[in-house]
Symmetry: C2
C-alpha cells in the first residue's frame, strides 16, 4: 500500500521503513515539544509515522525506554551547546559565563525536553547505561571548564567535581524557575541568570571580606 512518499533511493534504509528508530525519536521529541510529556502517546506517534502502534516495540522495550532515548539525545545536544559556548567564548571566565547562559537558554527553549531529562520519567538506576553516560558527558563538560579555570587561578582550588555540582545546581535551579513560569516574564530568566553568574563569582555576603582566609592547598 502507499508507504507514503518515502522508501526512495536512501542508501541507509535497513529494512521496511527507513530507519524507524530515528523517526520515532524525532517524532516523539516533536510531539513532546508541541504537547508536553503527558501528551505523548505511542499510538499517535506511530500513526504520524505511517506505522502501526506496536511497531516501536521492535526498537524500544517500553514507553520509558523511548523517553530515555529522547532524554539521551537531549543530554547530547546540551553537551554540544555547552562545549560550543566554552570553546567559542575563549575558554576563559567569559566563556564560562557563556556556558551558563547556553545552559539556561537550552532549558528555556526546550522546556518539555528538559523536563524529560530531569523530571524523573527515566530511572536513574543504571537501567539505561547510554543515558547515564550521556548525562555524565554533559556534566563532564562543566567539570573540564572549571578545571581549566582552576589552572588559570581564576576560580578557587576546591574539589573540582564538588564545585561543578554546585554550579550545576545553580544553573539547573535558574532554568527550573524559568521553565515553571515562576519568573515575571519569559525574559526574566536571562536577567536572573546574569545576576546569578555575578553572585556565583562573588557570593552574597556583604562586600567586606578581606583577602585573608586564603587556602590554596
Amino acid at each position: 500500500m502507499p508507504r507514503s512518499t518515502r522508501a526512495a533511493r536512501k542508501p541507509d534504509r535497513p529494512y521496511h521503513h527507513g530507519n524507524l528508530r530515528r523517526g520515532l525519536l524525532d517524532e516523539a521529541l516533536a510531539t513532546i515539544r508541541a504537547e508536553g510529556v503527558e501528551g505523548l502517546t505511542l499510538r499517535e506517534i506511530g500513526a504520524r509515522l505511517g506505522v502501526s502502534r506496536t511497531a516501536l516495540y521492535r526498537h524500544f522495550a517500553d514507553k520509558r525506554a523511548l523517553l530515555a532515548g529522547v532524554a539521551t539525545e537531549g543530554f547530547r545536544t546540551l553537551r554540544q551547546q555547552l562545549v560550543a559556548a566554552w570553546e567559542e567564548g575563549g575558554r576563559g571566565r567569559a566563556a564560562f559565563e557563556s556556558m551558563g547562559a547556553a545552559y539556561v537558554r537550552f532549558a528555556v527553549a526546550n522546556p518539555s525536553h528538559y523536563r524529560v531529562m530531569f523530571g524523573g520519567f527515566v530511572n536513574p538506576k543504571a537501567c539505561e547505561p547510554e543515558l547515564t553516560a550521556e548525562a555524565a558527558g554533559a556534566f563532564q563538560a562543566l567539570v573540564d571548564a572549571l578545571a581549566a579555570l582552576q589552572r588559570d587561578a581564576i576560580v578557587r582550588g576546591d574539589d573540582t567535581v564538588k564545585m561543578a555540582r554546585f554550579v550545576w545546581a545553580v544553573v539547573h535551579g535558574v532554568a527550573m524557575l524559568g521553565i515553571d513560569g515562576q519568573l515575571p516574564e519569559p525574559c526574566g530568566v536571562e536577567e536572573l541568570m546574569r545576576y546569578a553568574l555575578e553572585r556565583l563569582r562573588t557570593g552574597i555576603d556583604a562586600a567586606e571580606r578581606a583577602s585573608g582566609r586564603r587556602r590554596r592547598h
Copy 2:
C-alpha cells in the same frame, strides 16, 4: 453495609464519609510517597478509602486538581519547616543556613512529593490560585529572611527578591540533584549543601578580591 469501622461520634463529619477531601489528600500523598507520582490512580485511592472510584469528583474537578491539592499542602509544609528553621536558628546567618538545610532535607525526605510540586504536573497559570498563593508564601519566607539579613548588613543590599530567587535556585538545584540520584550517596546531598552554602557566601572566585567595588546604593 459495613461502612468499615468509621462513622462514629466524630463531630466534624459533614456527610456520609468523614471528611473525604482530607482523606483523599492524605491517601493520595501516601500513595505518591510509596509508588511515585505515576503510580497514583484514582480508583486505587478510592478503594483504599472504602469509597467508590468517582467519589472524589465531588471534591476535586480533576486528577490534576487533586495533584494540585497535594502540591499545595507540600508548599504549606515546606514553608512551615523553613520558618521554623529560621526562627529556631536565631534569625541570623546560622538560621539562614539552617533554612537551606531544611529545604534540602524536605526535598530529599519527600522526593515524590517534591516532584509533584515542581515537576510541572500542575499548571502554573493561575488555574489554582490556592496553589500559587501557597507557593508564593513559601518563597516569601525566604525573602523575609534575606531582608532581615540585609538589615543587619550580613548580606549584600541587592534587590531582595532577585537575591531570593538566586538562593532559591541554588537550594532547588541541590535538592534536584539529590533527588535524581545523581549524587554519590544519599548523604552526599548534605555534604553538597554544606559546600553550596559556603560558596553561596563567598562565591567561587579565587580569594583575591579586595574590599573595593563596594556598592551600597
